[in-house]
Amino acid sequence: VTEPPNKPFRFDPTGAVLFVIIGVFVGQLWLLMATMEAVLGGDRSISLPAFLAGLACLALNIRLFGYLGRGDGQTDVPNR
């Protein structure tokens, strides 16, 4: 019986950045739904802080997006 070779764990920074982007996206989705629910229920005071929080999420996502490579086979670091 041959055992499969153990692959050493390698941290994937691109995958981690994507994971965080998706996490922020899901949080923003929840924020939008909560804002809608509050405003439809007559509580309008929450809409401006929620908008600012949404903008902060967007800024964070744009910043994180900048860390992703430029595409297939192309990275920010030139290949040698």
């Binding site: 691109t14 995958g15 950045v17 994507l18 982007i21 998706i22 922020v24 996206f25 923003q28 989705l29 924020l31 939008l32 804002t35 809608m36 629910e37 405003v39 439809l40 229920g41 007559g42 509580d43 309008r44 809409s47 401006l48 929620a50 908008f51 949404g54 903008l55 999420c57 967007l58 996502n61 744009i62 994180l64 997006f65 992703l68 490579g69 430029r70 595409g71 297939d72």
Partner: protein, 183 residues
Amino acid sequence: MSIDANKPGGPMSRLERLAEPAEHERMFPTDRPADRRVSRREFGRFFVVASGSMAAGQGWIALRSLGSGEADAVLPVQAVARVDEIPVGGAVAFRYPDPDGEPVLLVRLAERRFVAYVQRCTHLSCAVVWDEKSRCILCPCHAGCFEPTTGRATAGPPKRPLTAVRIEIRGGTLYAAGRMETA
């Protein structure tokens, strides 16, 4: 006479014909696997664009909310109905503060006890109705229930109380006289 399908120049089998590229594919060849491939950056871009759309949506909600400052305005006194038009335990709906205003539900709880609430559930804005049997202002959308004397939510998903409208009785006529903050 037998027909050899494998013979060069012979008739093709059905499978072979299906495997053959179509005319337009021969004329304009495309690399389908490469076309279908989504890079991580493209995948990430989708979420960033969606994130921007949601931020824009929240901006729209904030603009709409800031634009409607009618809650702080002084509302006029408006005749609603005569006292004897509404039986004890009955209810009528009217619009306030003008004929195009929000629908309001006026309920007669006792001989001299009237309450009125904006006819909009504080959960998702469905129209609430008076249910005399259960003594509850009911939201039929998600079975929310509001206590009629205070407007507080007692059952279902709503958390906030209904917006109350002040009712005054003058000479046998009921008047709506502004909104009230409910506890």
